[in-house]
């Protein structure tokens, strides 16, 4: 059976393999090889038989084909109500067909499945909320991604992402040394402005352990500094682990389930090792979902809870503003109309809808809700790893239209978006559609707004 050099059923577990796939220009060779990739039908069907159980079976079986899911899907709306974008149709023609044929499918079919599972669904799970039977097609597409991954059918960037996690236990090539070094550097760079600022590494029994997204040490270290400053100003006893600081999981998007387990166990190990009272994760949607919501199940924890209580960054912010640990200078509240981007991963899929409203009530004078909002909010258009996939750029940009119109309808000039992927999506949206808006994480906003306690101010020279 032909296996490509880059595109194959093997996982990426060594640096050599990773370098080789990174060297491929835009994944050209990778996708070319994919055209010749054989399907191990026996293995595929065996996997399906083991994992395709009553929930999925029932979902596919009882779907009444009523079409109520159509309007729940932003792809359907953005593509001029193309019936081919109806969630039920999408899953029926992919996973449904795969099951019907008992895994006896062609290469072209698998590629069609991949294109559908990644470019027509960002696994936002909104359709499940609108189906009378509670058929969650987002979950089914996640499952399908897993089946596809096991057969080597996954977008180039997802294969890279999975490899990164397998090798570095982080979504990017950031080693422990790089990470610790970056913390030291940020401490140095910012302590002039915030005397006494520390980024305590590996402190045991702290009140808070901070976990984050590898893009921060890799490309945006000021995010780490900003987090440190806010912890510092709030007087928190906090720490960051030298190992197990990465909370994201591209393996979840890719459907590389074994690596999901490896990744999340690495973070849990840090929690067990440092025994913090609580863990706070950075402003990232899927990191929270991977580490807090889904992670315990990958790791096989029966309670479905991570070893230590975990907060999303917005929960921490709401808490410190509520308790007054951080005080907002009333004069610096946001005056212009501002809206909030509910991330599917921690709002619809983790029940944190109230938290952002509370935060906005503290920091904004003219807060405007998007419609719909909260659990019913639309995906930004870049979720499920879609932002990162070159092959599906076009499809993603069309999908943006729904979020664009939602934002424009609020009249807001600023979008608060505490999620790396939403942030990226809104930026790209602005570049493509020129909406005339700004967008931001919470941290830089807060840094500008909070009152610095007298004893933490830099001494005047």
């Amino acid at each position: 059976m032909p296996e490509g050099i880059l595109c194959n059923k093997k996982t990426i577990d060594t640096k050599e393999q990773l370098d080789a796939i990174l060297a491929d220009a835009s994944g050209n060779q990778y996708y070319e090889e994919m055209n010749h990739l054989d399907i191990d039908k026996v293995a595929l069907w065996t996997t399906i038989r083991k994992t395709f159980k009553s929930r999925f079976k029932t979902w596919l079986e009882i779907c009444a084909h009523c079409g109520l899911c159509a309007e729940s899907c932003y792809y359907y709306l953005a593509n001029n109500r193309d019936p081919k974008q109806v969630p039920s149709y999408k899953i029926k023609t992919t996973l449904g067909e795969l099951i019907r044929r008992k895994g006896d499918v062609s290469n072209a079919f698998m590629q069609m499945c991949m294109d559908t599972a990644f470019a027509k669904c960002s696994c936002c799970t909104r359709c499940g909320v609108y189906c009378p039977f509670g058929i969650d097609m987002g979950i089914m597409f996640s499952y399908l991604r897993g089946l596809l991954f096991s057969q080597g059918f996954t977008p180039w960037e997802m294969k890279i992402g999975s490899g990164m996690h397998r090798i570095y236990r982080a979504q990017m090539d950031v080693t422990t040394e790089d990470w610790v070094e970056t913390c030291e550097w940020m401490e140095e760079e910012w302590e002039d402005d915030y005397p006494g600022l520390k980024i305590p590494i590996d402190k045991e029994n702290a009140d808070i352990m901070y976990t984050l997204n590898a893009r921060e040490p890799k490309h945006y270290p000021q995010d780490i500094a900003e987090a440190a400053v806010l912890f510092h100003l709030a007087g928190e006893n906090w720490t960051a682990p030298s190992e197990g600081w990465e909370a994201t999981s591209l393996t979840m998007f890719a459907g590389d389930w074994p690596a999901c387990k490896m990744q999340v166990e690495n973070v849990y190990a840090a929690m067990k090792r440092l025994k913090p009272k609580r863990v706070v994760g950075t402003e990232c949607g899927h990191a929270y979902r991977a580490t807090v919501i889904e992670g315990p199940y990958w790791a096989g924890i029966k309670t479905g809870q991570p070893p230590v209580e975990n907060l999303h960054y917005v929960e921490w912010v709401a808490e410190v503003l509520r308790t007054g640990k951080l005080k907002i200078d009333p004069a610096k509240k946001i005056k212009e109309p501002v809206t909030f981007q509910d991330s599917c991963n921690y709002v619809r899929n983790a029940g944190l809808a109230d938290i952002p409203r509370e935060i906005m009530s503290y920091i904004a004078e003219d807060f405007r809700e998007m419609k719909p909002n909260r659990e019913h909010n639309f995906c930004c258009g870049g979720g499920g790893g879609l932002n990162g996939i070159g092959r599906y750029r076009e499809e993603r940009n069309i999908g943006f239209k729904v979020k664009r119109d939602q934002i424009l309808a609020t009249g807001a000039k600023l979008v608060v978006s505490p999620c790396h992927n939403c942030w990226d999506a809104i930026r790209d949206m602005e570049e493509i559609y020129h909406m005339g808006i700004k967008w931001t994480f919470l941290k830089p906003l807060l840094i500008d707004m909070v009152e610095v306690p007298e004893h933490l101010k830099p001494k005047e020279e």
Partner: protein, 307 residues
């Protein structure tokens, strides 16, 4: 004088003057030079994409593109590379100021040389901007070593100076700038102008100052310079003290022009600015944009002790 120099370049014509100074200086002091280009700003979420800082286009970060960028840099600086062997070329994706600062720290360089670009060319105008302010502002604020910024064509490489203007605001950071200015003046035997511009920009907000008050303050500033800096010149007597009043960056630029300055040395000590202030830029930035000579920004003592 400088063992390791980092030349932070956009690998475009706007850095040509800076390139000349960087390579000539490295050659003169036999320094290790790194021509460092941060070519693409990556996304926040996971992707292999970056926004090319020059073209504004979205590019895929793979070996192909990286190789192409490096090759182009080699072509751009082919002549200089031939003349100075101890030079390496590096191109990486990232946020320019972050990567420049990271590289400077990691390589422990003694001097950063940057070109200054006009605002339109600056990557800060892209919405990719990740922090407030420009690359220049961020680098000058946080660098541990002197940062030499070259905007316009300059006559020579480092050295051959006749007049150095040290602009002070009496901050602690300015201490380091002074030390640097003094050492350079001593090395090259040129005139050191100790200059302070008394800020009367508050008149625009309606606060009228009496002339007496202004003059008193200027007298005081002169006295301060005498006390703070003159004793540390240790016998070096080719210095002049001048106090002008006005908007600091305008006055420094005017003063430098009138005194045929070859170099302006100042500190960039402003705090991390809030977004609104950052857009106006710091005094250093304003001076860089307007001055006809190179500007050295020095904030910290780390790298000038052994000069």
């Amino acid at each position: 004088m400088f063992k390791k120099i980092l030349f932070a370049t956009t690998a475009s014509p706007s850095c040509d003057h800076a390139a000349r100074v960087a390579f000539d200086t490295a050659k003169r002091y036999d320094s290790e030079l790194t021509a460092f280009h941060v070519f693409g700003i990556p996304t926040r979420g996971f992707s292999q994409f970056a926004r090319d800082v020059r073209t504004g286009e979205t590019v895929t970060l793979d070996d192909d593109y990286l190789g192409w960028v490096k090759e182009e840099m080699k072509n751009t600086y082919a002549r200089q590379l031939e003349l100075h062997q101890k030079c390496t070329i590096e191109a990486i994706p990232g946020v320019p100021h972050t990567e420049i600062l990271r590289a400077a720290r990691k390589k422990d360089v003694d001097l950063i040389i940057m070109g200054s670009t006009t605002r339109e060319e600056d990557e800060g105008t892209y919405t990719y901007r990740s922090t407030t302010g420009s690359t220049l502002q961020a680098v000058t604020k946080s660098a541990r070593c002197p940062v030499l910024i070259i905007g316009r064509p300059v006559a020579s490489a480092w050295g051959g100076f006749s007049n150095i203007v040290f602009g002070t605001d009496f901050s602690r950071a300015a201490d380091s700038a002074f030390l640097f200015a003094y050492k350079v003046a001593k090395t090259f035997g040129c005139t050191l102008h100790l200059f302070h511009a008394y800020d009367i920009s508050s008149v625009h907000s309606g606060k009228i100052m009496e002339q007496d008050e202004i003059e008193d303050n200027m007298m005081e500033a002169r006295e301060k310079i005498r006390k703070m800096y003159v004793p540390r010149l240790k016998g070096f007597d080719d210095y002049e003290i001048d106090i002008w009043e006005g908007i600091p960056y305008v006055e420094i630029v005017k003063f430098a022009r009138e005194n045929y300055a070859d170099l302006i040395v100042m500190a960039h000590h402003t705090r991390k600015p809030s977004s609104e202030k950052a857009l106006l830029g710091s005094t250093v930035e304003q001076v860089v944009l307007r001055a006809t000579c190179p500007v050295a920004s020095v904030n910290r003592p780390d790298k000038i002790k052994d000069l």
